[in-house]
């Protein structure tokens, strides 16, 4: 079983930020879609866990022993609402989240072809607030009896600790959402998607016969989520797509690679690669064979949008996740309302960003997605919360309570984190550098919310001398510094804007899909 070599092993699979983990864009074909196409899509958008038509809806309780996959959307909602009501007879607050993630990964290189599923997950998470903390039970048994047993056992065993804290159930009602797209991958037969990947591999391979390998990796996931508490029953279906083209070259002594990736929530329209950019990538892959380490010292650097976004992610992304404030793990707590960067620094986290890889309609604790302006003109204004951190810190909630899968708790997590664009061009920024580097293609990054160190690793660095790119490359390049110094040194923000997909960890685990992005920016940092 060769599955997952390109998604789990190859370095080009690493993308964005946090503690970087290979992107977990999952594979798999929704067999429901293979079978019933758009009809099933509509049903899932309404929260149907069977993929069948929602036509059979009734509001009566399901029969004992009925699996959730056999329930209509209304039956399932009715059951979960009833369980929440029953749990709240004993505890002050209860909710339930049902999650199902399926996906397909298609990878083709010169030697192998793979279609596989990756990290599928499915389960229900029951949450109760006992007056002081959260208790949860998660199960993969989605039968009506199984769900009821887990819910009642959790409520019964909860250790009640009334202390005056109340949980606000938030906006009410019943709503359902689905990612919009132009070319919906789940509506295309698998054979067509496989053919598209084959075509891209053929096109990329034809660019340069001297390359030793060319790998194309495509991934799509569909996450179906249903959140119920006493005020609401919300469902969403999130479709994420991602593609990477990677080239490999050798001179007999050294082997190197370079890659381009695309991705977001939406359809295949997000995954276009032009011949010109593939040709440029192939040329750069060869030049990287001669790349040398950088002379370690401080430089002025111009960085691409992905690295810009990761600066945001690692500095005032992780550092302002409010559960870290509760743990006294974030230095930013002391800087609320204070200047933390030059007035060109505007950092935003926005789960409602159209097409962002980290986008969603509501978070895993039932909060409707909306943007958070974290740093405004260099001043730290607001952090990112999950339910408990907002409740305990008595601040307005943001929609950032996210969990990796049903087996993990929700934490305060980023979604799409980016620098706002400025004006001017990349050439303007480069022209202002006497001795520095143009850094592009992020490899990985790491946060340090308590010490405010920052680490980013760029795959490609091109020397800049007297305002001009010289073509001399270095690889890889570590970018380190003290966060306030780095942000204070930002003295140029271009008007372009991109976001790139990635997977973010909280510390060393808990991966969730995110994007980072922004314009090209210019700052000063230590390179090595």
């Amino acid at each position: 079983m060769s599955a997952s070599f390109w998604t789990m092993t190859a370095r080009h699979a690493r993308r964005c930020a946090g503690r970087l983990i290979p992107t977990s864009v999952s594979p798999w074909t929704r067999r429901d879609f293979l079978r019933t196409g758009a009809l099933a899509t509509a049903a899932l958008a309404a929260g149907d866990w069977s993929g069948r038509s929602p036509g059979r809806a009734t509001a009566s309780p399901p029969k004992a022993g009925t699996p959730a996959a056999m329930l209509t959307p209304d039956e399932l909602k009715t059951l979960l609402q009833e369980l929440v009501r029953d749990m709240e007879k004993r505890v002050p607050y209860a909710s339930v989240l049902m999650l199902r993630r399926r996906g397909t990964n298609i990878s083709i290189d010169d030697q192998t072809q793979e279609i596989d599923e990756e990290s599928p997950s499915e389960g229900a998470v029951f949450t109760v607030f006992n007056g002081a903390w959260l208790e949860e039970a998660s199960t993969s048994d989605l039968s009506a009896d199984g769900l009821r047993a887990v819910a009642m056992s959790l409520a019964k065993s909860a250790r009640l600790k009334p202390n005056g804290i109340e949980i606000d159930p938030g906006e009410g009602g019943e709503r359902s959402f689905r990612t919009p797209s132009v070319i919906d991958p789940t509506a295309l037969p698998l054979k067509d998607r496989f053919s598209r990947v084959q075509d891209l591999h053929r096109r990329a391979r034809a660019i340069d016969s001297k390359l030793i390998n060319c790998a194309v990796s495509y991934g799509e996931t569909v996450a179906s989520e249903l959140f119920v508490n006493r005020a609401k029953a919300w469902s969403q279906e999130l479709v994420r797509v991602r593609a990477t083209v990677a080239f490999f070259a050798t001179d007999g002594q050294v082997t190197t690679d370079d890659w381009i990736s695309r991705g977001g929530t939406g359809g295949l329209e997000l995954l276009e690669f032009t011949d010109a950019e593939l040709a440029a990538l192939a040329a750069e892959t060869h030049v990287l064979l001669a790349a040398k380490p950088v002379e370690p010292t401080s430089y002025q650097v111009v960085v691409d949008g992905n690295i810009t976004g990761t600066v945001a992610h690692e500095s005032f992304g992780h550092g302002v996740e409010l559960d870290m404030f509760l743990k006294d793990r974030a230095l930013a707590e002391q800087f609320l309302g204070k200047r933390v960067g030059s007035d060109m620094v505007n950092i935003i986290d926005d789960p409602s960003l159209a097409g962002g890889y980290g986008s969603y309609f509501f978070d895993h604790e039932g909060q409707l997605a909306s943007p958070t302006h974290i740093v405004e003109n260099g001043v730290f204004t607001r952090g990112l919360s999950d339910l408990m951190s907002a409740t305990q810190l008595k601040v307005p909630r943001s929609a950032n309570g996210r969990r990796q899968d049903p087996g993990r708790k929700a934490y305060a997590r980023m979604s799409n984190t980016f620098f706002a664009a400025g004006s001017g061009t990349v050439e303007d920024l480069i022209a202002g550098v006497q001795n520095g580097f143009y850094l592009r293609n992020l490899s990985h990054g790491m946060e340090d919310p308590k010490g405010w160190g920052i680490l980013l690793v760029a795959h490609v660095g091109e020397e800049i001398k007297d305002g001009r790119r010289t073509g001399r490359l270095a690889s890889p390049i570590g970018i380190t510094g003290y966060v306030p110094d780095v942000l204070a040194s930002v003295n140029g923000v271009a008007g372009d804007f991109v976001t790139r997909p990635g997977t973010c960890g909280k510390g060393w685990k808990e991966s969730v899909p995110v994007s980072t992005g922004g314009p090209h920016i210019r700052f000063t940092a230590r390179l090595s």
């Binding site: 370095r11 293979l34 079978r35 903390w133 208790e135 370690p296 570590g478």
Partner: protein, 437 residues
């Protein structure tokens, strides 16, 4: 499993199949300072079905996972998987034949019983250890957060080649963050135990070490820029083995991603002035995180000497890549077992001939698996000179693993740490640290 087997054998186009069933029970406890933040139970049952299809163009395979106990397997699901497999045209290979499975210690009886009692015990020990640190003179330390995960998993495998096997395993994650304060300044240190056995978790030692690290971080300064000897301990060097594992893996060699050749030195023509690298992949290591008697296709696993005295001796290959490459099927990489040296750690840390850096924590050391280059930030280290030791932080650490291991000397003391078993420290003679001028 018999009912699933019947469905699989009834679908045309299934040339081979693998069934894997797993049932896990996990308990998680999260502490916020000295009080509960969250407590969770997780029950999950899965059945992963892999089918193979042989056709004129070669062979393909496809997997899908069913959730919940006794999840029904529909014929249509298998037909869809056969269709997915039929799209791929890879060289055919045969699933592993039945063979005696090794006895591998991966289950701790202490983690197989009452999880809440174990959680309470670990928490109690942690609080007691922190109480001592809180009352310590000078810079008191306190708890920021703790996460404890206990897991027991039962799994079985059945294949069309006739393999039938099962295993029971346990795991334990102990994740701790401590804080130390000096006036207005505060620092943290993060520690983690990831293993399979309660007796291996030394809560008291973990707490003491990370309180010490947090206090030292308060005093740490930017290092001086220097290329010279560096000693890595506390597991910080384990990621440096990743490029070697990647380059000796069957999947990489088959894809021409690795320049290494069996029988040739892994460091090329670099002069080796260190101990020489001897590295094995061992799936049978007692209580190793990557230990298992069989892999996902039912291949019986063992220990394989991959690199011996710097020479590439055997490919770490699953049955698939072993057949493609014409080598023995050893299984892909599992636990990395590194041969120790003959020098004590104290001797490696000897700075009488010149200053050295002793690094105990990085932000994230994540080498380029293909090229072997790395660059990272030092979270905590010590500069050791004949005149004394001072903590440092914030500088960068860069180099290339192939160059670095040519000068590596390994400690003779051994440790088991997650999926690594080997020396507790490595000294590299000429690595770049960049900090103040």
């Amino acid at each position: 499993m018999k009912a699933y087997q019947d469905v699989l054998t009834s679908v045309p186009g299934v040339s081979a199949w693998v069934l894997r069933r797993s049932r896990s029970t996990q308990h998680q406890r999260y502490l916020l300072h000295d009080r509960p933040e969250c407590e969770r139970t997780v029950e999950e049952t899965t059945l992963t079905v892999t089918v193979f299809n042989q056709h004129e163009g070669g062979q393909g395979e496809a997997s899908f996972t069913l959730f919940g106990a006794d999840a029904p397997l529909a014929r249509s699901q298998v037909e869809d998987a056969v269709f997915m497999a039929s799209l791929q045209s890879n060289p055919a290979y045969a699933l592993p034949e039945p063979a005696p499975m090794p006895a591998v210690e991966i289950r701790d009886p202490e983690l197989s019983g009452d999880h809440r009692r174990v959680l309470d015990g670990i928490q109690e020990r942690c609080f007691a250890a922190m109480a001592q640190e809180a009352s310590a003179a000078g810079q008191p330390a306190r708890l920021s957060a703790v996460e404890i995960f206990l897991d027991r998993i039962e799994s079985e495998i059945l294949t069309s080649a006739g393999v039938g096997a099962s295993k029971e395993e346990t795991s334990l994650l102990f994740d701790i963050v401590v804080l130390a304060r000096d006036g207005d300044r505060e620092s943290e240190s993060h520690g983690e135990y990831n293993g399979r056995r309660l007796a291996q978790l030394n809560v008291e030692e973990t707490v003491a070490r990370h309180c010490r690290f947090a206090r030292d971080t308060l005093k740490a300064e930017l290092p001086a820029t220097r290329k010279g000897p560096v000693v890595l301990t506390a597991g910080t060097f384990v990621p440096l083995l990743t490029p070697f594992k990647f380059a000796t893996a069957g999947a990489s060699l088959y894809r021409k991603m690795s320049p290494l050749v069996v029988g040739q030195p892994v460091l090329g023509d670099r002069p080796v002035t260190g101990d020489g690298l001897t590295l094995a992949s061992d799936a049978t290591l007692p209580f190793g995180v990557e230990s298992t008697p069989f892999d996902q296709e039912g291949l019986a696993l063992k220990s394989t000497g991959v690199i011996d005295a710097g020479v590439f001796r055997a490919v770490a290959a699953s049955k698939q890549y072993a057949e493609y490459l014409g080598v023995a099927a050893t299984g892909s990489w599992h636990n990395a077992v590194l041969k120790p040296g003959s020098t004590s750690l104290d001797e490696l840390l000897d700075a009488s001939t010149g200053p050295l850096y002793h690094i105990v924590d990085f932000s994230w050391l994540n080498p380029d698996t293909i090229r072997g280059s790395f660059s990272t930030e030092i979270r905590l280290a010590y500069e050791i000179t004949p005149s004394g030791t001072r903590p440092i932080k914030g500088g960068s650490f860069a180099g290339n693993v192939y160059d670095a291991f040519a000068t590596a000397h390994f400690a003779r003391e051994m440790e088991l740490r997650g999926d690594y078993h080997g020396p507790v420290g490595i000294r590299f003679e000429a690595l770049q640290v960049t900090g103040s001028a």
